[in-house]
Structures are given as C-alpha cells and as structure tokens.
C-alpha cells in the first residue's frame, strides 16, 4: 500500500546500497551545489535565488516524508504557513532577532507536526492524505479567523529583517542571502544524513513492506511519526525563512493549493531522489516567475504538468538522470 516510491522509481530502490563510487559522486555533487550557491547571487537576482532555496528546502522536507517514508501528506502547507506566521509575528511584534524568529517558527511547526502526525498515522494511504489535508484546512480557517495574529486577508506585512544575532544587518539582499544559503545547505545535509542513517533505512523498509518491518520487531508507527515530525519541522524552517526573506506571511502559504505545489515540485524533480526536489523547486518557481503575466493560465499549466508527470514521467527529472547513469541521486 505505501510502496509509492519503490514500485515506480527504481532510482529510489537502488538507493539502499550506497557504494564507494556513489558516495564519491554525491560528495562531488554537494561540492558543486555549494559552489553554485556561492556564485548564484552574483549572476542571478538574489531574491529569486532565495525564493528557490526556500521552496527547495520545503520540497526536500516533503520528499523526506513521501519519498523515504512512503507517506503522502496533502497538508504540508500547514507547517510551512504556520511557521511563516509565527516567525513574521514574533519578528515584527516582539522584536525578535531573525534567527530566534525562525527558530520559534520552526519549533511551532514541529509541535503542530507532532499533533497532526499522531492523528494522521492512525490511517493509511489515501485516508492519510485526506486527513492531513483536512487538518491543514483547519489551520487555514484558524489563520483566516484570527486576524489579530495573522492579519487575516492582508497577512503580516512589512516584517523587519532585523539584525542577525543583533549584530549583522540583513537589510541588504546579499547579506540575507548568505543566511538563507546556509540554512538551505544545513537542511540538505541533515536530510542526506537522515536518509543514510539506520533510522532512514528502517523508514525505507517500512515504506516498502510495513507488515514485514513490524514482524522484524520495528515499531512502524513510531518511525512513521518520527519521520513525519522531522519533515514538518524542516517544512516549518523553510516557511519561517521565507517570511523573513519576503517580509511577509500570508494566507497563500497555508492554503491547500500550496500543499499541492510542493507535491508537484517533488514529482517534477524526482520522487525518492536526494537532489530531485531542488531541481523541481527551481523549475516550478522559475515557471511561476516567468509565466506570472498569464494569470490563471499558470494553474492550467501546473495542472497539465501534474497530469503528464503522473502519466508519463513518474521518475521526474533527476530520477531519469539517475536511471541513465545507473546511480542513485
């Protein structure tokens, strides 16, 4: 039932065996990503790159849950959006420094993820998806009805970027960029570490065959909850960072279409691949930026990409590359 990634993405199945040449390839890729992060703000508009990085981290967090835990959450906007509200609110109204505001937003997402995760893992498959979606919709209504906290339809605007550790001003885009890049890199490394840890291996075993994992003595539900909380927390980190970057938290971030967008990014990039969600986020965010003038047609284009991905392109961009070079990416 929950073998979503393994049956259709051979790339994910191979990933269990990480031999020396693969490890070397991954290390080189990390170096390449770090190098790209260093040059990016000089060749591209820094705010655009920061947007891509925030969404890439969001997609990475989502992929940790779906690609490696086999759990399709359709309500990840809740953690992303709630963290973004908390971080925006505390930075603006309590005058917290950006790093504390982000940490607090992330912590609230972790808490929310624990409660929602504990409820949702009681059901599996499609039900799990519907429950996460319904719970996320509750968060949306909460955000809509508590304008004193969320600003209602207007959102929280003009959030101060503040001074990092109370010392370094982040008003300049370049200065803020290094913080965002560092957060992204740390998130990516953490997720890589989680996937390749014994904990990650057990998660994959549960994804592939839950009854068997249980018969081997693993408490499947505890692992599922744990990976859910980790994913929600990292999604929150992405949302909190985004609030500081754009100085804005709004209802769009908690609405269910945001949950759909992160699924799309992961699918396009490659479900169950380490680097896929980054590519997926880059593609979708660029698309939204360049097609913005088309208005509602963007939704149609996104829908078409969704359908095509599910019908013809289930491995995603990175999944296809991984298959071609016969190495997990």
């Amino acid at each position: 039932m929950t073998d979503l990634a393994s049956t259709d993405t051979p790339a994910a199945a191979v990933l269990t065996e990480t031999d020396d040449s693969t490890a070397r390839l991954h290390r080189n890729l990390f170096i390449a990503i770090a190098a790209l992060l260093v040059i990016a703000p000089f060749v591209a508009y820094p705010v655009f790159v920061m947007k891509v990085l925030c969404f890439a981290l969001f997609a990475l967090a989502f992929n940790l849950l779906l690609g490696y835990g086999g759990l399709l959450s359709f309500g990840h906007a809740a953690y992303f959006g709630m963290a973004s509200y908390v971080s925006a609110y505390t930075a603006k109204n309590w005058g917290l420094t950006p790093e504390l505001a982000i940490l607090l937003g992330t912590a609230v997402a972790a808490l929310l993820g624990t409660v929602f995760g504990a409820l949702a893992i009681r059901r599996q498959g499609i039900y799990f998806a519907m429950i996460t979606l319904a719970l996320a919709q509750m968060v949306f209504f909460f955000s809509l009805q508590t304008p004193r906290f969320t600003g209602g339809e207007d959102g929280i605007q003009a959030v101060p970027r503040g001074k990092l550790f109370g010392l370094i001003s982040l008003a300049d885009d370049r200065a803020l960029y290094w913080l965002v890049a560092a957060i992204f890199m740390a998130g990516l490394l953490l997720i890589y570490r989680i996937i390749h840890s014994p904990f990650g291996q057990v998660c994959k075993a549960i994804r592939d065959n839950e009854p068997r994992a249980i018969s081997l003595g693993y408490r499947a539900n505890q692992y599922k909850l744990m990976v859910f909380v980790l994913s929600a927390t990292l999604a929150g980190l992405a949302g909190a960072t985004k609030a500081i970057v754009f100085q804005l938290a709004s209802l769009t971030d908690v609405y269910w279409s945001m949950s759909g967008e992160v699924v799309l990014m992961t699918l396009v990039g490659g479900l169950g691949t380490v680097f896929g969600p980054i590519v997926g986020a880059l593609v979708i965010v660029s698309m939204q930026n360049y097609l913005a003038t088309l208005g509602a047609w963007v939704t149609v284009v996104q829908g078409v990409i969704f359908v095509l991905c599910v019908l013809l392109f289930r491995e995603g961009i990175v999944g296809v590359i991984a298959k071609a070079i016969k190495k997990p990416l």
Binding site: M1, D3, L4, T7, D8, L72, F74, L119, R122, R123, Q124, G125, I126, Y127, A129, M130, I131, L133, A134, L135, Q137, M138, F141, F142, L144, Q145, W256, G260, V263, L267, G295, A296, W297, V298, T299, V300, Q302, G303, V304, I305, F306, V307, C309, V310, L311, R314
Partner: protein, 295 residues
C-alpha cells in the same frame, strides 16, 4: 414567542434548514466519492471541479441555449458524466495498476486544469442563476418560512441518494458492482465486463457531482471556486463516515450538515471548523470511521 436556549426560533430553524441543505450536498458528493472509491480505489480529487462544472453547464444551458432548469438538471449530469467517462478511458485507465495515490495526484492535476480554464473564461466573481419559477416563493409553516426551492433541494437529494443506495444494494447490476469491488479478477472470470463497469461507475459518480452542482446553482452564485473548498469538507465527511457503506455516506453527510448548521447558531466562530474537529475526535476513538470497516 418562545425561545430555545435564548435563540429566537426563526434563526434556529433557519440554520437547521441551511444545515440540511449543506448536508444534502455533502451526502451526494460523498456518495459519489464512495461509489468511485469502491471500484476504482481512487479518491476523486476532481470531484469538486466536476460539481462546479455541473453548475456551469446549467448556467450555459440557460444563457446560451435558453434551456430551463429542469432540462439542465437532466442534461448537465449526462454531459459532465460523459467527460468523466472520457477521463477514465483516456487517463485513469493508464494508472489503474499503480499505487492508488497516483490516482489522487492525477485527479488533483485535473482539478487544477478544469478550475483554471473556467476561471480564465468566466473570472472568479460568480454568475447569478435564477430559481426556476415553479419553485419560487415558499410556505409559511407557522414557526418558520420555508422557501420552496430549498425544500426541493433536500427532497431531490434524498431521492437521488436513496435511489443510488437501492441501485447498488438491491439490484442485479449493483450485485455485479459489489462483486467487482470485492474481487475484480474473479468477477471478470464469471463473464462480467469489469472494465466497462469501472468506466460507467466513474461516469456515474461524476454525474452525481454534476447533479449536486445544478441543485446548488440557484442557491450559491455559480463560480469557478465553488468546488475547491467544499470538496475538502467532503473529504472530512468521508473520513468521519468511513468508506465502508453507501448508507454511511448518506447518513453522515446529512448529519454533519445539520451539526454545522446548529454550530452556526450556538457558536458561530467554530462553524467553519466543527466538521474538522469532529473528524479529529472520530479518528481518536474510531480510526476506521463511524460506518467504516477496519482495514
């Protein structure tokens, strides 16, 4: 005038009526979802978009072709159901062998396409659709005023729900359907055309959504987003009821609409979330849902 817990009776019965009407839509939509889920194992995420299409087809019938409400009530489910059949044949068939979650993702993509197309064509502001003249006006029941159209909506949805229940639980065609749900391979071996049954079932489920859409058109303004938020509430209804039984979908749909209506009277702030709160409580006590079977 007597008062009930400090609430004037007009307001109370008005909300009960409104709750029953919303409940009618929940019931028809969750019934359609249950029928589709039973045979295709797909949560039809485009159900809300197909409900919206039903309302729009009714509006188009009136404004482009001059066809009245009653013709639309018959025609819209057939037209939208036909698009459902095309979707099943062209798209859903190709992913039937995959994990069920791909069905959810595919229909989600379809919902985005349908909503986007309608939004481009008609904008988001909403179009009016008049109540048919035969059903305008209302009855004074003494304790409240009952608009005829609203009474009709509740009546029509009850008839359709019970008709569907009868079709599935009591007829020969329904027994084929239930057999195919239990064991498609074996049913096929008995000479029953299961792929055709699957296609028709999807078409029928979609037609139910469109029927609800036509019923809704005179009450709510016809707009491209009318299905998007409704469908998530219906998902919650489905989780609460469980997908086990057709009757479960009907009973849960109506009762949750009623509960929502009553919440609007006694504690309006919680009205938008009360169904989700009930969902959480039911999940804690009975994870399989009130009428569902434990997997």
């Amino acid at each position: 005038m007597f008062e009930l817990l400090g609430i004037p009776p007009q307001a109370l019965f008005g909300q009960v009526l409104l709750g029953l009407i919303n409940g009618s839509f929940y019931a028809i939509l969750s019934l359609g979802l249950a029928v589709i889920f039973g045979l295709l194992n797909i949560i039809n995420f485009s159900h809300g978009a197909q409900y919206m299409m039903g309302a729009f087809v009714a509006w188009m019938c009136l404004n482009y072709l001059g066809l009245n409400y009653w013709v639309a009530l018959l025609l819209a489910p057939i037209i939208v159901g036909a698009t459902g059949i095309a979707i099943e044949r062209l798209l859903l068939k190709r992913i039937a062998h995959l994990d069920h979650l791909y069905g959810l993702l595919l229909t989600f993509g379809l919902a985005l396409i349908i909503q986007g197309l309608f939004r481009n064509q008609y904008g988001s502001s909403g179009l009016p659709y008049a109540i048919p003249p035969q059903l305008s006006g209302g009855q004074n029941l003494g304790f409240m005023f009952l608009p005829n159209y609203r009474a009709w909506v509740i009546f029509a949805s009850l008839v359709v729900c019970l008709g569907t229940w009868f079709l599935i639980e009591k007829t020969k065609l329904g027994s084929y359907l239930r057999a195919a749900t239990e064991n498609p391979t074996l049913t096929q071996a008995f000479g029953i055309n299961v792929p055709l049954l699957v296609t028709l079932t999807y078409g029928f489920g979609v037609a139910l959504a469109a029927f609800a859409g036509v019923l809704a058109a005179p009450i709510y303004s016809v707009n491209p987003n009318m299905g998007g938020d409704l469908i998530i509430v219906v998902f919650a209804v489905v989780v609460i009821g469980g997908m086990g039984s057709i009757m479960g979908a009907i009973v849960t749909g109506f009762s949750l609409g009623l509960i929502e209506g009553l919440t609007k009277v006694f504690y309006p702030e919680a009205a938008a979330t009360v169904i989700f709160i009930i969902m959480v409580l039911v999940l804690l006590v009975k994870p399989a849902g009130l009428f569902g079977r434990q997997a």
